[in-house]
Subunit: 262 residues, 2 copies
């Protein structure tokens, strides 16, 4: 059975304007790959209702899981939750259990936090959604069908994801092996590398040039990182061995593993 697939929607004007550098993509890409739910597409979209609704409906039909980050706070530009309700065609309603948990939390603070209309929005969920509760806040994320709605603030998003993760049916973990070579240019190895890719059609073989100056060991110069990736550890290892052999036959000195030589 093929692995389930995932799509990430990063919702927020602040990422599109360059104000905020997204920090969630790489975390989720890595964790989902480890769980065998590889990320197949990411979209960054603005806080515009019709864009959010349309995109959610497009991608939830196309991928096994959709993860969203951003737009679930108390302010007027936090509209992800009501847009997901609209996308599913269900009412957006106060979730009583969540309201009670938040009320208890706010009353316990010193000084107590006012549970006003803005904060009540964070207890309002699409009808039928399952809250994602985490240690960082009583204002929850939620899952609605295959759409998993999380906060944009990285430490809260990560806490929500770890709370959600055990409930996701994973696949075969995606594994990879990397071989680095210094002083090797992509243009010189392209043909031989394509032959390795052809020998391992079930894997992704990728080539990523790098340049380091004044690293800890004083290395300055360029090279390539060659990566074999897939769900078969055995094939990944065999491909890494073939890449190593290819580099050695060209007189280069391959270096196995991450991180690249600094």
């Amino acid at each position: 059975m093929p692995n389930p697939t995932a799509c990430l929607l990063i919702i927020g004007n602040e990422v599109l304007s360059g104000r905020t550098r997204d920090a969630n993509l790489q975390f989720l890409a890595t964790r989902l790959g480890d769980m065998g739910i590889p990320l197949r597409e990411v979209r960054v979209i603005p806080d515009v209702p019709e864009t959010i609704i349309g995109t959610v409906n497009e991608v939830r039909a196309k991928f096994d899981h959709v993860f969203t980050t951003g737009g679930i706070g108390p302010t007027h530009d936090d509209i992800t939750s009501e847009c997901v309700a609209a996308a599913f065609g269900v009412p957006w309603m106060v979730h009583e259990e969540t309201r009670a948990l938040m009320a208890e939390d706010y009353a316990r603070r010193d000084p107590p936090v006012e549970f006003n209309a803005a904060r009540l929005r964070m207890a309002t969920l699409p009808q039928g959604a399952t809250p994602i509760r985490c240690a960082m806040t009583t204002a929850p994320g939620f899952s609605m069908g295959n759409v998993h709605v999380m906060a944009g603030v990285p430490r809260i998003m990560q806490s929500m994801f770890e709370a959600l993760a055990p409930s996701l049916a994973g696949g075969v973990p995606v594994v990879s092996a990397t071989v680095h070579a210094l002083g090797v240019y992509e243009g010189n190895i392209a043909e031989a590398l394509a032959a390795v890719q052809a020998r391992f059609p079930a894997l992704d073989v990728g080539s990523y040039p790098f340049y380091r100056s004044h690293g800890p060991q004083g290395f300055t110069g360029g090279g390539v990182a060659l990566v074999a990736k897939g769900v078969s550890q055995e094939q990944v290892e065999a491909a890494a061995a073939a890449i190593t052999e290819m580099l050695e036959s060209m007189g280069a000195t391959p270096i196995q593993g991450e991180p690249p030589p600094a």
Copy 2:
């Protein structure tokens, strides 16, 4: 006349797998906003021909400009150029002027670089494309219609973008003003902030919570950054003044401008 719109396609398995953290989105978002060509959507897609072709055709019809990064090197996984040719339904052909420039460059190197079949791929462009030549490399990016194809390596992408930028018809620059307030929680200001947004419907008013620990001035704690953004400097300044007044009326101490208190 409304500003032209832009979409960015980040093409590459390495970003989707978490191996590489994208560094191009924020650069392009900022530069394009300054030029009045705001970024309206970003997609990160894999090195899969039908995905690249389909996505290019979808977004080039939807946005005034499409920028792509990644997939124009010499290796087998560099397929952006031939996919753009397929999207436009034109042949993918050796571009003679580019071939000659690259041949001259490679011959001049010490030792000379072999102009092999892999490197010739980088001189192969969709028929009718205009090369984007930059100081970093003789292997060009290119514009095909409203699709601007650039390298994925940030310093090369930036060099290509600056070479391309003067030829793009910009719009009215997007400007913004930011007001920070320490010890202020979104839930307490949401209603008053929504009233500011309502007073300035042509602007985007955004709220971004932050948390700093042990900054240079020893500040530890949370707060909000409130941002007014749009094409009218006058309105942006008026909205920032309204936000400042709102914060002062609540007893907070607003701090104008970037960067946030560290």
